[in-house]
Subunit: 225 residues, 2 copies
């Protein structure tokens, strides 16, 4: 009985969250702000890739960043310093995910006036953040080469909610038993049409292709308004 109660509470929280997240999405569409939610395991290279991606895009768009961490502020400092864009550090006080409400409060603190693109770096976690819609326009999910090509089979929800997947740390491929084809096959089992990119933030390889794809998506988003 106890188990059932917990599950029901969780379903209530999730369905209410995901309903309210639509309002965040609609408000951002009205404001013309494309909101990209980046999710991945700890240490998969989110911050490093974001620095490269922002530097590739900042000539075309006014960008803001929200860095969500349980603790610490290493990432916000590093992104601001390396890209010059404004970056808000958000602490989740132990929470393993970002709700619509935390997402909205962070957007309001950052201020979206004059911004074209806001990037949210979610908590490093391949499970919980996938359950909570943040109101983002799109979800970018990263999988790093060292983690292994089987992860989409073991963390299915994360790869189902992805609108695009980037395989990161391409530069270390020779040191690991990782097949891009197997990773692609495993992602496609959960998400048949999901575009995949193979990138290295260290060498820059693959970053222009991902940046171009985002530009296309932002252009389509603006046309739809």
């Amino acid at each position: 009985m106890e188990k059932v109660r917990v599950v029901e509470i969780k379903e209530d929280i999730l369905s209410r969250n995901n309903e309210r997240a639509k309002e965040v999405k609609d408000e951002l569409a009205r404001r013309g702000v494309y909101y990209l939610n980046v999710m991945a395991s700890p240490g998969s290279g989110k911050t490093t890739l974001l620095v490269e991606l922002i530097n590739a895009l900042k000539g075309k768009y006014r960008i803001g960043v929200i860095e969500a961490d349980i603790d610490g502020d290493v990432d916000a400092g590093s992104i601001s310093e390396k890209t010059g864009v404004s970056c808000l550090q958000m602490h989740t006080a132990g929470a393993c995910h970002i709700t619509y409400q935390m997402s909205w409060e962070a957007l309001e603190s950052l201020g979206t006036d004059g911004l074209d693109l806001v990037i949210l770096e979610n908590v490093g976690n391949l499970v919980c953040p996938a359950e909570f819609d943040t109101g983002a326009t799109a979800n970018l999910v990263l999988l790093s080469v060292p983690e292994g090509d089987d992860k989409p089979l073991k963390y299915p929800l994360m790869f189902s909610v992805a609108d695009m997947v980037a395989i990161t740390k391409k530069d270390v491929l020779p040191a690991f038993d990782f097949s891009f084809e197997a990773a692609e096959r495993n992602v496609r089992k959960r998400n048949p049409d999901c575009p995949l990119f193979l990138v290295s933030a260290k060498t820059g390889e693959g970053v222009p292709a991902l940046a171009s794809y985002l530009e296309e998506k932002i252009a389509e988003y603006r046309e739809r308004r």
Copy 2:
């Protein structure tokens, strides 16, 4: 107000879980079973290290393994095949952690009769599993070299609840900007006396030291009974 309610429910669930987990711990002590809970990020090398560790220890102890995954059964098959020990695959039905109850049910399904050591491979997640006591005798937390030496700062609770930490994938150190000393310093900020091991399941380096430490701990556990 809504937020407060959610937090209270969570605290209730956690405190009840952690109270009941003590009963699991006591029952295992009565049975003389050392229960090791292994926690880490996705793709940090839990399964590969466990195979090496089990092969180093199976001559001395009768070992059972519980593999917890959200989905898939790749790991249980791989561990059974490579070590010959009995292994139970447990699916968490989407859950990001193992409660005392899931842990207890898995122990009863596996059967602890005649076992000296049971190893639980928890869900790949550096956040939530740290909150839920599984009733384990000890927690082994892994941090892989590709994840970065700053992770103990960003996921403080996980490194606080660790009884031992193993830095995995030592063989790829030259390809990454990772300092063992920095990782050690960062772990010690949260957990001053925690023993650290630097291992490579691929080359076997460091595995004997970790296995010997576990043997010591198991001997102490038996003496205390």
